[in-house]
């Protein structure tokens, strides 16, 4: 997992600060949930499993949404290369 993600500041409200660029972001609850797991170095498979265990969502939708979310992180420069 990239160093980038470990450097970003993340609070319980879903506020994100990227000290490298000075940009800030906000994520919703699910986004926060995923980011925390990413920071812990969990794999895509593990994250999907956690999502389906915690939330009322099926595996297919969770997987699809995770791909989309990771794409967004990458576009914002919060993930480097292939992290999951």
């Amino acid at each position: 997992m990239g160093n980038k993600l470990s450097r970003i500041a993340l609070n319980d409200e879903g506020f994100i600060f990227d000290p490298e660029t000075g940009n800030s972001y906000t994520v919703n609850r699910t986004g926060l949930f995923i980011l925390r797991l990413l920071k812990e170095g969990k794999s895509e498979k593990e994250i999907v499993k956690s999502l389906t265990e915690t939330f009322n969502v099926d595996e297919r939708e969770a997987e699809r949404d995770l791909i989309d979310f990771v794409e967004q992180l990458r576009l914002y420069g919060l993930l480097e290369g292939k992290n999951v």
Partner: protein, 451 residues
């Protein structure tokens, strides 16, 4: 017990980009589960998606609103339904029931109105191209014809000779009313003296009786003052004609062009603010008339309002087929309806409603249609919460022009239904299938495939 799921969203925070109306697009969403009391899902189940839905209640309501606005202010008004705006039989029938005559601009529209049962003398025949045979029919059946150019004067004189009658006609004028673009391609120009030349020509021919003046200043006119200018100029010209040539101008057809509560691209204010009320238009038109007409003279005022009446009565239900993330980070949705059936998407930003509660922060997104064509964009930037596949979007207003200008291109055209005032749902145009499209095709024998 598992927690409710919301699709993960991340938004970049931007400072100094406060919304001046104080509302954040991130949390605004509009949910519409039914149209006139009929659940959206039920409509789609029965008639498929995409689906055009018209509200008879709204259509009649809107017409009466426009009618009242004018008839309360002027004693002699006729409303003529602009067929090109929406010539579905059922829509025209509702408006004819309400008392509208028919305003047509081609032999096709003329035939469609006649087929529906509209008598010839209840038809106004406009437009720059009126084939000779259609003029013969129109004169025979007593339609009111507004002449567009000098050739048409000659054509009608020929018809007069052929039928041995003296057709009663109008001429179309174009003029400067202070708005841009100025429509100058239809009719005879007033300021240059061309219109007066046309009257001279008609008078010297002696075969036609000039009884009306027609004008149509533009479309989606947001400035009521333009109509005031139009009316005054028409009245002045009418008296010039009457005094110099002895014709009696019985009607002043001021056309249409009144806007609907739709949002034009590039206009920042919401339509509720930007679009003047119909009363405002009526007040300007009628007070201009009453202040410039001679005492006791009340020529018929004809209005050809189309969009202002039907636009808001029409909805399009469309379904989210797929979601993607563009390289720019923008979310994109692929819908089952595109510009092939939503011609007005090129200049309007539709009101977008969702058929269900969707949780999560709205994100900027683009709505694409189903066509494999780059131009197929229904909305290039809107804010929607993360939509699951299968979500229905209800787009409005789409009642004007879409079901006439739609194209059979790449996909079949969908069904159109009308919800009656008592909740009846009637199919008023079936969805197309292959037979509609190939009916006119002929394959030469030598090209028949033997696979």
């Amino acid at each position: 017990m598992k927690e409710a799921y919301e699709k993960p969203v991340i938004l970049k925070l931007k400072t100094g980009m406060m919304n001046k109306f104080g509302s954040s697009p991130a949390y605004i969403r509009k949910v519409r589960k039914e149209i006139d009391g009929i659940p959206v899902e039920k409509l789609v189940e029965k008639f498929g998606s995409p689906l055009f839905v018209f509200s008879e209640k709204k259509l009649r309501q809107k017409f009466r609103e426009v009618k009242n606005a004018f008839t309360l202010r002027y004693p002699n008004v006729e409303f003529s339904w602009s067929y090109k705006t929406n010539y579905l039989d059922a829509i025209c029938a509702v408006l004819h029931q309400e008392g509208e005559t028919a305003e047509v601009v081609s032999e096709f529209e003329y035939e469609k109105a006649r087929r529906l049962g509209v008598p010839g003398n209840q038809i106004i025949y406009n437009g720059p191209y009126k084939p000779y045979d259609s003029l013969v029919t129109a004169v025979k059946e007593g339609a009111r014809i507004n002449i567009d150019h000098f050739e048409e004067i000659a054509d009608l004189e020929k018809v007069a000779d052929e039928l041995g009658v003296k057709p009663r006609v109008g001429i179309r004028l174009n003029m400067d009313t202070g708005i841009h673009p100025q429509w100058s391609r239809f009719g005879f120009n007033l300021e240059s003296g061309q219109a007066l030349d046309a009257v001279k020509r008609i008078a010297s021919g002696g075969k036609l009786e000039l009884v009306g003046l027609h004008c149509h200043i533009g479309t989606f006119i947001l400035d009521p003052h333009a109509y005031e200018v139009e009316v005054k100029k028409m009245v002045d010209f009418a008296y010039t004609v009457e005094d110099q040539f002895g014709f009696k101008i019985e009607y002043l057809d001021i056309g249409g062009g009144f806007p609907s509560k739709n949002r034009l691209k590039g206009i920042y204010l919401p339509p509720e603010v930007a679009v003047p009320s119909v009363d405002e238009f009526a007040e300007r038109v009628c007070s201009a008339l009453l202040s410039s007409l001679r005492p006791g003279d009340y020529p018929k005022l004809i209005l050809e309002s189309g969009r202002a009446i039907v636009d808001e009565a029409g909805y399009l239900i469309t379904t989210v087929h797929a979601a993607k993330r563009l390289p720019s980070g923008l979310k994109a949705y692929v819908l089952d309806a595109g510009v092939n059936i939503l011609f007005t998407a090129f200049w309007y930003k539709f009101n977008i409603e969702i058929d269900r509660e969707v949780y999560g922060t709205s994100e900027p997104c683009v709505l694409y249609g189903p066509l494999c064509m780059n131009i197929d964009v229904v909305d290039d930037l809107t804010y929607l919460p993360p939509l699951p596949r299968g979500t229905r979007l209800i787009l409005s207003p789409v009642g004007a022009y879409n079901v006439t200008q739609w194209m059979q291109f790449i996909r079949y055209r969908p069904a159109v239904v009308l919800i009656g005032e008592n909740g009846e749902v009637d199919l008023i145009r079936e969805a197309e299938d292959l037979t509609d499209i190939v009916r006119r095709e002929k394959l030469p024998e030598r090209l028949k495939l033997e696979w």
